[in-house]
Subunit: 367 residues, 2 copies
Amino acid sequence: MISSNYYKLSEQYLFSRIGRIISERHGAINLSIGDVSLPLPREVSEAGARAAMELGDKSTFRGYPPECGYDFLRKAVARYYNDRGVTVDQSEVFISDGIKSDMAMFFHVFNRGKVLLPTPCYPAYIDVCAIFGFEVSFYEDAPSEEKADIIVICSPDNPTGRAKSKAELEAWVRYAKRTGAIILYDAAYEAFVQSGAPRSIYEIEGARECAVELCSFSKTAGFTGLRCGYTVVPSECGLGKVWARLKSSLSNGVSYVTQRMAECALTSALDKIRGNVKQYLDNAALFRSALSGADFVGGEDSPYIWLRVGDGKAEFYRFLDEYNLGVTPGYGFGRNGDGYVRINSFCSKENAIVAAQRLRDWVRGRG
Amino acid sequence: MISSNYYKLSEQYLFSRIGRIISERHGAINLSIGDVSLPLPREVSEAGARAAMELGDKSTFRGYPPECGYDFLRKAVARYYNDRGVTVDQSEVFISDGIKSDMAMFFHVFNRGKVLLPTPCYPAYIDVCAIFGFEVSFYEDAPSEEKADIIVICSPDNPTGRAKSKAELEAWVRYAKRTGAIILYDAAYEAFVQSGAPRSIYEIEGARECAVELCSFSKTAGFTGLRCGYTVVPSECGLGKVWARLKSSLSNGVSYVTQRMAECALTSALDKIRGNVKQYLDNAALFRSALSGADFVGGEDSPYIWLRVGDGKAEFYRFLDEYNLGVTPGYGFGRNGDGYVRINSFCSKENAIVAAQRLRDWVRGRG
């Protein structure tokens, strides 16, 4: 009776399993699961506290939120795009409790088809394709002649930490428009882009006709514990009505308290959340410098560094046993992941300094 | 490319459409969409405010919540059952952002099959079966010989407001065990039961082997704006591992702030949330008395009254135009809904007094 799709999944979700192994190791610095460590800006907490108190007062109580999000937040998100010259209307912004939920919503829209996934790949994408029974094919870099209904692009990429260039994204948009495919663009790490690479697929001409963009407050604003994200469904792609209709049957929207906190993060606390991102990027710069001489990418436009290590599984345990560092073994990200580990820079500054020294020791120890 | 299942849905989700029509009518009292009106108990708001402030402090910051819920809340939910003599272990409690999300999770577990739905039926169940492509058959009351994989039972029922008796539920549990079906038991309105009817399917012997129970803080604790629910997946039914695994790929859990508020609702604020439920039941008693002489059920174990009116659509407009009352036309609940309207008692006491008078006028006006 249980869905046969379930049996296609690995026994435990990668990050849960790795997290357990690392947390049992006393003194290890965890550079594995991509969870933030800096507290929220005080304004954001206060916006939440205020909203919670409003719900306890007769004159300011609110019930069901609008299924697609409060206008105040949809507007703040649209402005977050507009202020960097990207055209997004607030009616095209759909608030969610995070990218995982919107991934599922996206697959509900299509129900069946063939998906092109990057490789290595964030495992939740592999899982969701299995759960929904979509056919999967992997791409390594640029579009080939292979046809698909859906193309998943994550940029800056998880796990490699690489941001796709404008030219690369242009090639994908051309491909999607030629073949009639839809791009599912995961921009969860857009706030980390420093190099001038695109932060949104909508910086590419024609993308509004063929791309849906998923984003989240988790990494941008440290909201992993609060659960808030958004999806842009441009009017030109013709999916907005379907999206809104499915959302009304599958969800009842996102907490008013959370939405007020998210609004604050994008408005009065915007400089502070940018400061937090900067601190994680500073950690990444420390790691990059410590890894000098090793073979890696990422860490410039992303909190992730993708490090070539040889035998990924053995090296995961060597990092843990000999250097007291928890990293994520690359094999968990599928084909092309083996032989690498992912390191993230979400730890505190103090831990980053210690971890950088341990990475330096690891580089020396390789010899 | 868009899922053919989408085209099986009605154009707009019933409650959104009805809500719009009523909200445009000046002076109408809305007894339609089942949204609460009483503010949260002050302790609950304060628990939320405290939790929001914790996230702004380095020493108390928390990132990703556990995917299946914080232990403090799972424990509070288990105790909420245990205190009325129902066996539920905290490991069997899965926290969600509401029943709609857990309905979807449930259908992911099975992926395909035949579903028995009640009729009349809460429309989100009809929608979710369509979205997932399940075959649907309707039952009127007791089990027949018809076989199915899943049986949805809502008690106290939405829309009829009737709580199933112990004997009725025993018949369904026997049927499920004989046929190998799984019961999806929606207990969203359990807190309203006054008559001694079961509040949980687990009050029925053998139900732990064949039933999953969905519940929510929305109506129990006035959490419609906060989004929190829970599902009990008993160890005997053998679905807990699948549930946890799917949840880890399809969601990242529920806001820490919300979970602290829910914990407070089930512990220190429990008497107050019971007081709020009592107030809604008092409103329902006013309505029942006003409707004396008319043909209706519900309103004793439920905030809903299911009133026979003749032509449901015409009467919906007559309630609105002549009596300034927004009700829900029964045809939106499918077969057996036509000819009825649903009235809820979630309004303020002041509005309930005015609405009761209008209902009395309606009863007189029928002659």
